[in-house]
Symmetry: C2
Subunit: 214 residues, 2 copies
Amino acid sequence: MRASDKAYDELRTDIVEWRLRPGAVLGEVEQAERLGVSRTPLREALARLVADGLAVQQRGRGAVVSDVSLEHIDDLFALRRALEIESARIAARRADPAIFTELRTRFLEAGKGADRESRESFYHLAAELDRRIDAAVANPYIQQSLRSLRVHLARVRRLAQDDPARLAVSALEHAAIAEGIAARNPDIAAAATQLHLHHSLEHIKAHSGTREDT
Amino acid sequence: MRASDKAYDELRTDIVEWRLRPGAVLGEVEQAERLGVSRTPLREALARLVADGLAVQQRGRGAVVSDVSLEHIDDLFALRRALEIESARIAARRADPAIFTELRTRFLEAGKGADRESRESFYHLAAELDRRIDAAVANPYIQQSLRSLRVHLARVRRLAQDDPARLAVSALEHAAIAEGIAARNPDIAAAATQLHLHHSLEHIKAHSGTREDT
DNA sequence: ATGACATCAACTGTATACAGAAATTGCCAA
DNA sequence: TTGGCAATTTCTGTATACAGTTGATGTCAT
Protein backbone atom coordinates (compact mmCIF):
# COMPACT_ATOMS: atom_id res chain seq x y z
CA MET A 1 0.00 0.00 0.00
CA ARG A 2 1.28 3.44 -0.90
CA ALA A 3 2.19 5.85 1.84
CA SER A 4 -0.17 8.47 0.42
CA ASP A 5 -3.06 6.00 0.51
CA LYS A 6 -2.25 5.10 4.09
CA ALA A 7 -2.19 8.76 5.09
CA TYR A 8 -5.45 9.44 3.25
CA ASP A 9 -7.24 6.48 4.83
CA GLU A 10 -6.09 7.33 8.34
CA LEU A 11 -6.94 11.01 8.07
CA ARG A 12 -10.32 10.30 6.50
CA THR A 13 -11.19 7.78 9.19
CA ASP A 14 -10.07 10.21 11.90
CA ILE A 15 -12.29 12.92 10.45
CA VAL A 16 -15.35 10.73 9.86
CA GLU A 17 -15.11 9.26 13.37
CA TRP A 18 -14.77 12.69 14.93
CA ARG A 19 -11.29 12.13 16.32
CA LEU A 20 -10.33 15.14 14.26
CA ARG A 21 -13.01 17.71 14.99
CA PRO A 22 -14.25 20.41 12.60
CA GLY A 23 -11.82 23.30 12.67
CA ALA A 24 -8.82 21.16 13.58
CA VAL A 25 -5.74 22.35 11.76
CA LEU A 26 -3.98 19.75 9.63
CA GLY A 27 -0.39 20.96 9.56
CA GLU A 28 1.72 19.19 7.00
CA VAL A 29 4.75 18.67 9.21
CA GLU A 30 2.70 17.72 12.26
CA GLN A 31 0.52 15.14 10.47
CA ALA A 32 3.45 13.77 8.48
CA GLU A 33 5.28 13.03 11.72
CA ARG A 34 2.19 11.59 13.38
CA LEU A 35 1.45 9.20 10.51
CA GLY A 36 5.07 8.34 9.87
CA VAL A 37 5.18 9.46 6.26
CA SER A 38 6.96 12.23 4.44
CA ARG A 39 5.40 15.54 3.48
CA THR A 40 5.01 14.66 -0.20
CA PRO A 41 2.52 11.76 0.17
CA LEU A 42 0.81 13.65 2.99
CA ARG A 43 0.21 16.62 0.72
CA GLU A 44 -1.41 14.29 -1.78
CA ALA A 45 -3.64 12.92 0.97
CA LEU A 46 -4.63 16.45 2.03
CA ALA A 47 -5.46 17.35 -1.56
CA ARG A 48 -7.79 14.35 -1.77
CA LEU A 49 -9.47 15.31 1.50
CA VAL A 50 -10.04 18.82 0.19
CA ALA A 51 -11.47 17.38 -3.04
CA ASP A 52 -13.81 15.25 -0.91
CA GLY A 53 -14.93 18.32 0.99
CA LEU A 54 -13.72 16.89 4.31
CA ALA A 55 -11.17 19.67 4.64
CA VAL A 56 -10.87 23.18 3.32
CA GLN A 57 -7.65 24.80 2.27
CA GLN A 58 -6.88 27.97 4.15
CA ARG A 59 -4.34 30.37 2.76
CA GLY A 60 -1.21 30.31 4.81
CA ARG A 61 -2.62 28.16 7.58
CA GLY A 62 -2.75 24.82 5.85
CA ALA A 63 -5.90 22.74 5.70
CA VAL A 64 -8.54 22.60 8.40
CA VAL A 65 -11.20 19.95 8.92
CA SER A 66 -14.39 21.25 7.33
CA ASP A 67 -17.33 22.31 9.41
CA VAL A 68 -20.41 20.16 9.76
CA SER A 69 -23.51 21.27 11.56
CA LEU A 70 -27.26 21.02 11.47
CA GLU A 71 -27.38 23.87 8.99
CA HIS A 72 -25.70 21.69 6.38
CA ILE A 73 -27.92 18.69 6.92
CA ASP A 74 -30.75 20.04 4.80
CA ASP A 75 -28.32 20.67 1.96
CA LEU A 76 -26.83 17.22 2.34
CA PHE A 77 -30.24 15.58 2.24
CA ALA A 78 -31.30 17.62 -0.77
CA LEU A 79 -28.45 16.04 -2.71
CA ARG A 80 -29.25 12.67 -1.18
CA ARG A 81 -32.85 12.96 -2.30
CA ALA A 82 -31.83 13.75 -5.85
CA LEU A 83 -29.34 10.89 -6.11
CA GLU A 84 -31.02 8.11 -4.18
CA ILE A 85 -34.51 8.61 -5.56
CA GLU A 86 -33.19 8.56 -9.11
CA SER A 87 -31.04 5.55 -8.23
CA ALA A 88 -34.06 3.71 -6.83
CA ARG A 89 -35.97 4.48 -10.03
CA ILE A 90 -33.20 3.13 -12.26
CA ALA A 91 -32.58 0.12 -10.05
CA ALA A 92 -36.29 -0.74 -10.19
CA ARG A 93 -36.04 -0.90 -13.97
CA ARG A 94 -32.91 -3.03 -14.13
CA ALA A 95 -32.49 -5.06 -10.98
CA ASP A 96 -32.78 -8.79 -10.53
CA PRO A 97 -35.99 -9.16 -8.45
CA ALA A 98 -34.72 -12.27 -6.64
CA ILE A 99 -31.90 -10.36 -4.98
CA PHE A 100 -34.13 -7.61 -3.64
CA THR A 101 -36.89 -9.96 -2.59
CA GLU A 102 -34.33 -11.72 -0.41
CA LEU A 103 -33.07 -8.40 0.94
CA ARG A 104 -36.63 -7.40 1.82
CA THR A 105 -37.08 -10.59 3.83
CA ARG A 106 -33.86 -10.00 5.71
CA PHE A 107 -34.87 -6.41 6.52
CA LEU A 108 -38.19 -7.58 7.93
CA GLU A 109 -36.26 -10.06 10.05
CA ALA A 110 -33.69 -7.50 11.17
CA GLY A 111 -36.39 -5.10 12.33
CA LYS A 112 -37.56 -7.45 15.05
CA GLY A 113 -34.50 -7.50 17.31
CA ALA A 114 -33.29 -4.45 19.20
CA ASP A 115 -30.09 -5.65 20.82
CA ARG A 116 -26.63 -4.62 19.77
CA GLU A 117 -26.14 -7.69 17.63
CA SER A 118 -29.15 -7.13 15.44
CA ARG A 119 -28.31 -3.44 15.32
CA GLU A 120 -24.93 -4.31 13.81
CA SER A 121 -26.50 -6.69 11.33
CA PHE A 122 -28.99 -3.99 10.38
CA TYR A 123 -26.21 -1.54 9.53
CA HIS A 124 -24.50 -4.18 7.44
CA LEU A 125 -27.78 -4.95 5.72
CA ALA A 126 -28.39 -1.28 4.92
CA ALA A 127 -24.90 -1.05 3.47
CA GLU A 128 -25.58 -4.14 1.39
CA LEU A 129 -28.78 -2.62 0.02
CA ASP A 130 -26.78 0.44 -1.01
CA ARG A 131 -24.26 -1.78 -2.76
CA ARG A 132 -26.94 -3.80 -4.51
CA ILE A 133 -28.66 -0.67 -5.75
CA ASP A 134 -25.31 0.69 -6.93
CA ALA A 135 -24.63 -2.52 -8.80
CA ALA A 136 -28.08 -2.48 -10.39
CA VAL A 137 -27.79 1.16 -11.44
CA ALA A 138 -24.28 0.51 -12.81
CA ASN A 139 -23.66 4.21 -13.38
CA PRO A 140 -20.10 5.30 -12.56
CA TYR A 141 -21.02 8.99 -12.46
CA ILE A 142 -23.85 8.49 -9.98
CA GLN A 143 -21.67 6.10 -8.00
CA GLN A 144 -18.94 8.68 -7.64
CA SER A 145 -21.36 11.34 -6.45
CA LEU A 146 -22.97 8.91 -4.02
CA ARG A 147 -19.60 7.83 -2.69
CA SER A 148 -18.68 11.42 -1.94
CA LEU A 149 -22.07 12.04 -0.36
CA ARG A 150 -21.90 8.99 1.90
CA VAL A 151 -18.65 10.13 3.45
CA HIS A 152 -20.38 13.28 4.64
CA LEU A 153 -23.43 11.32 5.76
CA ALA A 154 -21.27 9.04 7.88
CA ARG A 155 -19.93 12.14 9.57
CA VAL A 156 -23.34 13.63 10.19
CA ARG A 157 -24.78 10.40 11.56
CA ARG A 158 -22.60 10.83 14.60
CA LEU A 159 -24.68 13.85 15.49
CA ALA A 160 -27.72 11.70 16.18
CA GLN A 161 -27.96 9.10 18.92
CA ASP A 162 -28.92 5.53 18.19
CA ASP A 163 -32.58 4.84 18.75
CA PRO A 164 -33.95 1.25 18.73
CA ALA A 165 -37.46 2.41 17.87
CA ARG A 166 -36.22 4.40 14.91
CA LEU A 167 -34.15 1.41 13.84
CA ALA A 168 -37.20 -0.83 13.69
CA VAL A 169 -39.14 1.66 11.59
CA SER A 170 -36.11 2.24 9.42
CA ALA A 171 -35.87 -1.48 8.74
CA LEU A 172 -39.45 -1.47 7.52
CA GLU A 173 -38.70 1.51 5.27
CA HIS A 174 -35.69 -0.27 3.82
CA ALA A 175 -37.84 -3.33 3.25
CA ALA A 176 -40.33 -1.16 1.36
CA ILE A 177 -37.56 0.16 -0.89
CA ALA A 178 -36.34 -3.36 -1.60
CA GLU A 179 -39.92 -4.43 -2.24
CA GLY A 180 -40.49 -1.61 -4.73
CA ILE A 181 -37.33 -2.51 -6.63
CA ALA A 182 -38.11 -6.22 -6.56
CA ALA A 183 -41.54 -5.44 -8.00
CA ARG A 184 -39.79 -3.46 -10.75
CA ASN A 185 -41.99 -0.49 -9.95
CA PRO A 186 -39.94 2.73 -10.23
CA ASP A 187 -42.62 4.96 -8.75
CA ILE A 188 -43.06 2.79 -5.68
CA ALA A 189 -39.31 2.45 -5.19
CA ALA A 190 -38.92 6.21 -5.49
CA ALA A 191 -41.79 6.89 -3.10
CA ALA A 192 -40.42 4.47 -0.52
CA THR A 193 -37.01 6.10 -0.79
CA GLN A 194 -38.45 9.58 -0.44
CA LEU A 195 -40.41 8.54 2.62
CA HIS A 196 -37.35 6.92 4.18
CA LEU A 197 -35.19 9.98 3.59
CA HIS A 198 -37.85 12.27 5.01
CA HIS A 199 -38.15 10.26 8.22
CA SER A 200 -34.41 9.86 8.47
CA LEU A 201 -33.86 13.60 8.22
CA GLU A 202 -36.64 14.35 10.69
CA HIS A 203 -35.14 11.92 13.16
CA ILE A 204 -31.66 13.37 12.90
CA LYS A 205 -32.94 16.92 13.35
CA ALA A 206 -35.10 15.91 16.31
CA HIS A 207 -32.61 13.70 18.14
CA SER A 208 -29.37 15.47 17.65
CA GLY A 209 -27.39 17.15 20.33
CA THR A 210 -23.86 18.33 20.74
CA ARG A 211 -21.64 15.34 21.28
CA GLU A 212 -18.70 15.59 23.57
CA ASP A 213 -17.57 11.95 23.54
CA THR A 214 -14.18 10.82 22.25
CA MET B 1 -0.95 31.51 -9.36
CA ARG B 2 0.52 28.26 -8.11
CA ALA B 3 2.37 26.01 -10.53
CA SER B 4 0.09 23.10 -9.64
CA ASP B 5 -2.99 25.17 -10.45
CA LYS B 6 -1.48 26.21 -13.75
CA ALA B 7 -0.71 22.60 -14.64
CA TYR B 8 -4.20 21.49 -13.61
CA ASP B 9 -5.93 24.21 -15.63
CA GLU B 10 -3.88 23.54 -18.74
CA LEU B 11 -4.29 19.78 -18.60
CA ARG B 12 -8.01 20.03 -17.89
CA THR B 13 -8.52 22.45 -20.77
CA ASP B 14 -6.49 20.21 -23.07
CA ILE B 15 -8.63 17.23 -22.14
CA VAL B 16 -11.98 19.01 -22.34
CA GLU B 17 -11.11 20.53 -25.71
CA TRP B 18 -9.96 17.19 -27.06
CA ARG B 19 -6.35 18.20 -27.61
CA LEU B 20 -5.55 15.31 -25.31
CA ARG B 21 -7.62 12.41 -26.61
CA PRO B 22 -9.04 9.59 -24.51
CA GLY B 23 -6.34 7.01 -23.95
CA ALA B 24 -3.50 9.52 -24.16
CA VAL B 25 -0.80 8.71 -21.64
CA LEU B 26 0.04 11.51 -19.21
CA GLY B 27 3.64 10.75 -18.29
CA GLU B 28 4.85 12.76 -15.35
CA VAL B 29 8.22 13.68 -16.79
CA GLU B 30 6.85 14.39 -20.26
CA GLN B 31 4.00 16.64 -19.08
CA ALA B 32 6.16 18.36 -16.50
CA GLU B 33 8.61 19.36 -19.22
CA ARG B 34 5.84 20.41 -21.60
CA LEU B 35 4.15 22.66 -19.05
CA GLY B 36 7.38 23.97 -17.59
CA VAL B 37 6.76 22.84 -14.03
CA SER B 38 8.39 20.29 -11.79
CA ARG B 39 7.08 16.81 -11.16
CA THR B 40 5.72 17.59 -7.70
CA PRO B 41 3.05 20.15 -8.70
CA LEU B 42 2.29 18.10 -11.80
CA ARG B 43 1.55 15.05 -9.68
CA GLU B 44 -0.90 17.13 -7.67
CA ALA B 45 -2.56 18.24 -10.90
CA LEU B 46 -2.82 14.63 -12.08
CA ALA B 47 -4.36 13.60 -8.76
CA ARG B 48 -7.03 16.26 -9.17
CA LEU B 49 -7.74 15.13 -12.72
CA VAL B 50 -8.16 11.56 -11.51
CA ALA B 51 -10.48 12.77 -8.76
CA ASP B 52 -12.50 14.62 -11.41
CA GLY B 53 -12.73 11.44 -13.46
CA LEU B 54 -10.97 13.03 -16.41
CA ALA B 55 -8.07 10.61 -16.08
CA VAL B 56 -7.65 7.16 -14.63
CA GLN B 57 -4.60 5.97 -12.78
CA GLN B 58 -2.95 2.94 -14.31
CA ARG B 59 -0.53 0.95 -12.24
CA GLY B 60 2.97 1.36 -13.50
CA ARG B 61 2.01 3.36 -16.54
CA GLY B 62 0.95 6.63 -15.00
CA ALA B 63 -2.37 8.26 -15.75
CA VAL B 64 -4.26 8.09 -19.02
CA VAL B 65 -7.05 10.36 -20.23
CA SER B 66 -10.33 8.65 -19.40
CA ASP B 67 -12.54 7.24 -22.09
CA VAL B 68 -15.67 9.02 -23.25
CA SER B 69 -18.09 7.56 -25.72
CA LEU B 70 -21.75 7.39 -26.55
CA GLU B 71 -22.16 4.52 -24.13
CA HIS B 72 -21.42 6.84 -21.21
CA ILE B 73 -23.80 9.56 -22.32
CA ASP B 74 -26.87 7.85 -20.92
CA ASP B 75 -25.12 7.48 -17.57
CA LEU B 76 -24.03 11.09 -17.65
CA PHE B 77 -27.53 12.29 -18.38
CA ALA B 78 -29.02 10.10 -15.69
CA LEU B 79 -26.94 12.00 -13.15
CA ARG B 80 -27.75 15.27 -14.88
CA ARG B 81 -31.46 14.54 -14.65
CA ALA B 82 -31.22 13.81 -10.95
CA LEU B 83 -29.23 16.94 -10.14
CA GLU B 84 -30.73 19.53 -12.47
CA ILE B 85 -34.36 18.59 -11.96
CA GLU B 86 -33.93 18.76 -8.19
CA SER B 87 -32.03 22.02 -8.58
CA ALA B 88 -34.81 23.50 -10.68
CA ARG B 89 -37.33 22.46 -8.03
CA ILE B 90 -35.37 24.09 -5.23
CA ALA B 91 -34.61 27.20 -7.26
CA ALA B 92 -38.32 27.59 -8.03
CA ARG B 93 -39.02 27.74 -4.32
CA ARG B 94 -36.30 30.23 -3.43
CA ALA B 95 -35.38 32.33 -6.42
CA ASP B 96 -36.01 35.99 -6.98
CA PRO B 97 -38.64 36.01 -9.78
CA ALA B 98 -37.37 39.26 -11.27
CA ILE B 99 -34.01 37.74 -12.20
CA PHE B 100 -35.50 34.76 -13.97
CA THR B 101 -38.18 36.78 -15.70
CA GLU B 102 -35.43 38.86 -17.22
CA LEU B 103 -33.48 35.74 -18.19
CA ARG B 104 -36.55 34.34 -19.88
CA THR B 105 -36.91 37.48 -21.98
CA ARG B 106 -33.28 37.30 -23.02
CA PHE B 107 -33.62 33.64 -24.00
CA LEU B 108 -36.61 34.42 -26.19
CA GLU B 109 -34.56 37.14 -27.82
CA ALA B 110 -31.50 34.93 -28.26
CA GLY B 111 -33.53 32.21 -29.98
CA LYS B 112 -34.30 34.44 -32.95
CA GLY B 113 -30.82 34.88 -34.41
CA ALA B 114 -28.83 32.02 -35.90
CA ASP B 115 -25.50 33.64 -36.74
CA ARG B 116 -22.28 33.01 -34.88
CA GLU B 117 -22.67 36.10 -32.73
CA SER B 118 -26.06 35.15 -31.33
CA ARG B 119 -24.83 31.59 -30.91
CA GLU B 120 -22.04 32.83 -28.67
CA SER B 121 -24.44 34.97 -26.68
CA PHE B 122 -26.73 31.99 -26.30
CA TYR B 123 -23.97 29.89 -24.78
CA HIS B 124 -23.14 32.67 -22.35
CA LEU B 125 -26.80 33.01 -21.51
CA ALA B 126 -27.15 29.29 -20.82
CA ALA B 127 -24.11 29.46 -18.57
CA GLU B 128 -25.64 32.41 -16.75
CA LEU B 129 -28.87 30.51 -16.18
CA ASP B 130 -26.83 27.69 -14.65
CA ARG B 131 -25.08 30.18 -12.39
CA ARG B 132 -28.33 31.85 -11.36
CA ILE B 133 -29.89 28.51 -10.51
CA ASP B 134 -26.80 27.55 -8.55
CA ALA B 135 -26.97 30.79 -6.61
CA ALA B 136 -30.66 30.31 -5.88
CA VAL B 137 -30.20 26.71 -4.74
CA ALA B 138 -27.25 27.78 -2.57
CA ASN B 139 -26.32 24.20 -1.82
CA PRO B 140 -22.57 23.54 -1.75
CA TYR B 141 -22.96 19.76 -2.01
CA ILE B 142 -25.16 19.95 -5.10
CA GLN B 143 -22.88 22.62 -6.54
CA GLN B 144 -19.85 20.39 -6.20
CA SER B 145 -21.58 17.47 -7.89
CA LEU B 146 -22.84 19.73 -10.66
CA ARG B 147 -19.42 21.23 -11.18
CA SER B 148 -17.90 17.79 -11.63
CA LEU B 149 -20.73 16.79 -13.95
CA ARG B 150 -20.39 19.85 -16.16
CA VAL B 151 -16.74 19.14 -16.88
CA HIS B 152 -17.74 15.81 -18.39
CA LEU B 153 -20.65 17.39 -20.24
CA ALA B 154 -18.34 19.95 -21.81
CA ARG B 155 -16.25 17.06 -23.08
CA VAL B 156 -19.20 15.16 -24.48
CA ARG B 157 -20.66 18.19 -26.21
CA ARG B 158 -17.79 18.10 -28.64
CA LEU B 159 -19.20 14.85 -29.96
CA ALA B 160 -22.21 16.63 -31.39
CA GLN B 161 -22.11 19.23 -34.12
CA ASP B 162 -23.63 22.65 -33.70
CA ASP B 163 -27.09 22.91 -35.15
CA PRO B 164 -28.85 26.29 -35.52
CA ALA B 165 -32.31 24.69 -35.53
CA ARG B 166 -31.59 22.83 -32.30
CA LEU B 167 -30.22 26.06 -30.82
CA ALA B 168 -33.45 27.90 -31.43
CA VAL B 169 -35.54 25.18 -29.84
CA SER B 170 -33.07 24.93 -26.99
CA ALA B 171 -33.45 28.64 -26.35
CA LEU B 172 -37.18 28.17 -26.01
CA GLU B 173 -36.66 25.30 -23.59
CA HIS B 174 -34.32 27.39 -21.49
CA ALA B 175 -36.90 30.17 -21.51
CA ALA B 176 -39.47 27.69 -20.24
CA ILE B 177 -37.20 26.68 -17.37
CA ALA B 178 -36.63 30.31 -16.43
CA GLU B 179 -40.35 30.93 -16.69
CA GLY B 180 -41.16 28.04 -14.36
CA ILE B 181 -38.68 29.27 -11.78
CA ALA B 182 -39.86 32.87 -12.10
CA ALA B 183 -43.42 31.67 -11.50
CA ARG B 184 -42.16 29.87 -8.38
CA ASN B 185 -43.71 26.68 -9.65
CA PRO B 186 -41.41 23.72 -8.82
CA ASP B 187 -43.37 21.19 -10.86
CA ILE B 188 -43.32 23.34 -13.99
CA ALA B 189 -39.63 24.14 -13.57
CA ALA B 190 -38.88 20.44 -13.12
CA ALA B 191 -40.98 19.46 -16.11
CA ALA B 192 -39.34 22.07 -18.33
CA THR B 193 -35.92 20.86 -17.21
CA GLN B 194 -36.80 17.24 -17.85
CA LEU B 195 -38.09 18.08 -21.32
CA HIS B 196 -34.96 20.06 -22.11
CA LEU B 197 -32.65 17.29 -20.97
CA HIS B 198 -34.60 14.72 -22.95
CA HIS B 199 -34.36 16.71 -26.17
CA SER B 200 -30.75 17.57 -25.53
CA LEU B 201 -29.83 13.90 -25.09
CA GLU B 202 -31.82 12.87 -28.14
CA HIS B 203 -30.07 15.50 -30.21
CA ILE B 204 -26.62 14.46 -29.11
CA LYS B 205 -27.30 10.80 -29.79
CA ALA B 206 -28.81 11.58 -33.19
CA HIS B 207 -26.23 14.10 -34.42
CA SER B 208 -23.00 12.69 -33.13
CA GLY B 209 -20.24 11.30 -35.24
CA THR B 210 -16.61 10.49 -34.77
CA ARG B 211 -14.66 13.72 -34.78
CA GLU B 212 -11.18 13.76 -36.24
CA ASP B 213 -10.53 17.50 -36.18
CA THR B 214 -7.81 19.09 -34.10
C1' DA C 1 10.33 -19.68 -35.77
C1' DT C 2 8.53 -19.17 -31.35
C1' DG C 3 8.60 -18.88 -26.53
C1' DA C 4 10.77 -17.96 -22.28
C1' DC C 5 14.03 -15.77 -19.43
C1' DA C 6 17.20 -12.28 -18.26
C1' DT C 7 18.84 -7.74 -18.47
C1' DC C 8 18.13 -2.97 -19.06
C1' DA C 9 15.79 1.20 -19.09
C1' DA C 10 12.16 4.24 -17.86
C1' DC C 11 8.92 5.64 -14.74
C1' DT C 12 6.60 5.97 -10.38
C1' DG C 13 6.68 6.77 -5.41
C1' DT C 14 9.04 8.88 -1.55
C1' DA C 15 12.14 11.81 0.93
C1' DT C 16 14.54 15.94 1.66
C1' DA C 17 16.43 20.45 0.83
C1' DC C 18 15.65 25.20 -0.37
C1' DA C 19 13.24 29.51 -1.28
C1' DG C 20 9.48 32.59 -0.63
C1' DA C 21 5.52 34.14 1.90
C1' DA C 22 2.69 34.84 5.80
C1' DA C 23 1.57 35.00 10.57
C1' DT C 24 2.79 35.79 15.15
C1' DT C 25 5.24 37.96 18.60
C1' DG C 26 7.92 41.36 20.75
C1' DC C 27 9.41 45.98 21.18
C1' DC C 28 9.05 50.83 20.84
C1' DA C 29 6.60 55.01 20.64
C1' DA C 30 2.61 57.85 21.39
C1' DT D 1 -1.98 51.07 27.92
C1' DT D 2 -2.57 50.54 23.19
C1' DG D 3 -1.38 50.57 18.48
C1' DG D 4 1.83 50.03 14.86
C1' DC D 5 5.95 48.28 12.87
C1' DA D 6 9.63 45.18 12.38
C1' DA D 7 11.93 40.88 12.95
C1' DT D 8 11.80 36.14 13.59
C1' DT D 9 9.92 31.86 12.98
C1' DT D 10 7.13 28.59 10.92
C1' DC D 11 4.85 26.85 7.10
C1' DT D 12 3.79 26.27 2.33
C1' DG D 13 5.21 25.49 -2.50
C1' DT D 14 8.66 23.71 -5.58
C1' DA D 15 12.60 21.22 -7.17
C1' DT D 16 15.53 17.40 -7.24
C1' DA D 17 17.69 13.15 -5.91
C1' DC D 18 17.22 8.26 -4.90
C1' DA D 19 15.24 3.75 -4.63
C1' DG D 20 12.09 0.24 -6.05
C1' DT D 21 9.20 -1.64 -9.43
C1' DT D 22 7.40 -2.52 -13.79
C1' DG D 23 7.45 -2.88 -18.62
C1' DA D 24 10.05 -3.67 -22.79
C1' DT D 25 13.49 -5.64 -25.53
C1' DG D 26 16.90 -8.77 -26.95
C1' DT D 27 18.95 -13.16 -26.94
C1' DC D 28 19.20 -17.99 -26.41
C1' DA D 29 17.35 -22.49 -26.43
C1' DT D 30 14.06 -25.72 -28.07
